[in-house]
Amino acid sequence: MNELRELYQEVILDHSRKPRHFREMPEASHQADGHNPLCGDRVTVYLHLKGDVIEDVSFQGAGCSISTASASMMTDVLRGKTVAEAEALFERFHALVTSDPSHADENADAELGKLAVFAGVCEFPMRVKCASLSWHTMKAALEGAAAASTE
């Protein structure tokens, strides 16, 4: 049960129940749709950039608690970040949810801040895509792609 508690931490449950920045953004400068064909999760990520800075970020979609919480927390942390910082966070987050925690780099974890609650995901290989869907979609939006898929 410990791994299960690691996965479903209270912060994650809270964000899944009450997702933050869950709205459309008509004025978005960048947006992309993400889809996990395996489970049907769908997310749209909206970004509004001013110069190189993410001034606003929001999302909409339907998914499991992990994918919803991940999208919600991502929108929390990306606000005010530069594109380069967002991309660096993407890499660290991806490493966090895919790698063995015993190999974790503590400094990198510190930079992830509250996103570190997703460390438990790596024990659940089938759920990695749930956690990373919104991040892939965000990256696709920044790169000007219309859609991202975790397949």
Partner: protein
């Protein structure tokens, strides 16, 4: 059959000894997260009885060789066992002749064979193919590909809120351009049993050829293709307690004989020169290359085993479990069963208010309960019910009431966590 929840199944003359059945499945003895496994995912793929495992091992240990090729003893033994398995499939489906059984990788390959061989020959621009709203992707996509190629149209007979095909609409959609009707015998996502005999008669009256996708039916219902009257019937070994990677297509001899070969290669030819080749008679014409030899022999063992227990006895057991499972899951607040057809096989698809099926699946896994979560390769069914996915518990000959009790307790834990 499990099945006719409406009609009372014939009372088992001898008591069904589920514990004796369970003892034959070594795969059920494993633990998952330190809990005894509760396997409720047989609609995805069933566990294997010892006799099937033994049959496959026996091939490799005692008489493995390629088939239909050599004169040496091992080749004769392997060929004989392989063809005996074909005979098993023939009897299992009630086919008139063994040559009407094409051994393939499974249902998906069987449907694709019909789409590409029969379909490309017989479906043209403006023609129509009729399916239903409860089909698995493998009975949708091959027809879409064919329609795309030929400029034909795919028609879909809708399902109602219980998951029952609207037969009046089905009949209305049958027209002079309907070349083929492709229908699941039993829905994988909903458990609905289609009235395939009646649908076949209607389709034939309209001049259409009929394919039945029997992937879900083979483990739960005694199938008789001659009684159904269909032209094609496809099923997979792995869902009927046999190995994965092997299955069969039944085709009426006259229909198969008129079809061009599908894949070219060894074993499907009569003669080959660089100028021209001629084809072997059916079923070899459709069996190019070395097949899953041990797999087919394992499938034969599985069908023999199933017949030993009796499909009627299995169906009665599963029907009783389905009634029990429906009762206890219906009592869970916030749970909605998806698929409530009066004639239904052992599938309990459900959603919980405010909780995504993936989360249900992960938490149930920690109770040792294996269920399928997702769209079940039936996205149009999910769309019809307005859900992105469901959790699905599916029943097999080895399941018990206790399995369903563990499931129900697990669901309460899921709700507790997400309260």
């Amino acid at each position: 059959m499990s099945a006719s929840a409406g009609a009372v199944p014939a009372p088992a003359s001898r008591a069904y000894d589920v514990e004796a059945v369970r003892r034959q499945f070594p795969g059920l003895r494993v633990t998952v997260h330190d809990r005894p496994l509760v396997y409720l995912d047989s609609a995805a793929s069933a566990q294997k009885p010892q006799v099937v495992i033994d049959a496959e091992r026996d091939v490799y240990e005692r008489y493995y060789s390629n088939i239909h090729r050599g004169v040496h003893q091992l080749s004769v033994l392997a060929t004989t066992a392989y063809e005996k398995a074909r005979g098993r499939v023939q009897r299992f489906l009630g086919a008139a002749e063994a040559r009407e059984i094409v051994l393939l990788r499974g249902t998906t390959e069987a449907v694709n064979l019909v789409a590409q061989s029969w379909g490309r020959t017989n479906v043209g621009e403006g023609d129509e193919i009729l399916i239903t709203g409860l089909e698995h992707h493998s009975n949708i996509v091959p027809w879409q590909m064919l329609c795309e190629e030929k400029g034909a149209h795919l028609r879909v007979a809708p399902i109602d809120d219980a998951g029952v095909v609207d037969l009046a609409e089905f009949e209305r959609l049958l027209g002079p351009r309907t070349r083929l009707v492709a229908v699941a015998h039993i829905s994988n996502a909903l458990g609905t049993i289609n009235p395939v005999r009646e649908m076949t008669a209607l389709a034939h009256a309209a001049g259409a050829v009929v394919l039945i996708d029997g992937a879900q039916a083979a483990p739960h219902a005694a199938v008789d293709v001659q009684e159904i009257g269909c032209d094609f019937y496809a099923f997979s070994g792995h869902k009927v307690y046999g190995p994965s990677g092997v299955g069969a297509l039944y085709g009426r001899a006259a229909v198969l004989e008129a079809m061009p070969p599908w894949q070219g290669g060894g074993d499907m030819i009569a003669t080959v020169t660089f100028e021209k080749s001629t084809w072997a008679p059916i079923p070899s014409k459709f069996e190019a290359g070395t097949p899953s030899i041990a797999g087919a022999i394992g499938l034969g063992a599985a069908l023999e085993w199933v017949e030993g227990i009796g499909l009627d006895a299995i169906a009665a057991h599963e029907g009783e479990l389905l009634r029990y499972g429906t009762e206890i899951l219906s009592a869970v607040p916030g749970l909605r069963l998806i698929g409530t057809a009066p004639r239904k096989a052992g599938v309990l698809s459900f959603v919980l208010d405010g909780i995504h099926p993936h989360d249900i699946g992960t938490i149930l896994d920690y109770e040792g309960v294996a269920v399928r979560t997702g769209h079940h390769c039936a996205q149009p069914v999910m769309d019809r019910f307005g859900v992105p996915a469901t959790a699905r518990a599916s029943l097999a000959c080895f399941n018990t009431r206790e399995d369903l009790d563990v499931l129900a307790r697990g669901i309460r834990k899921v709700q507790e966590m997400f309260k």
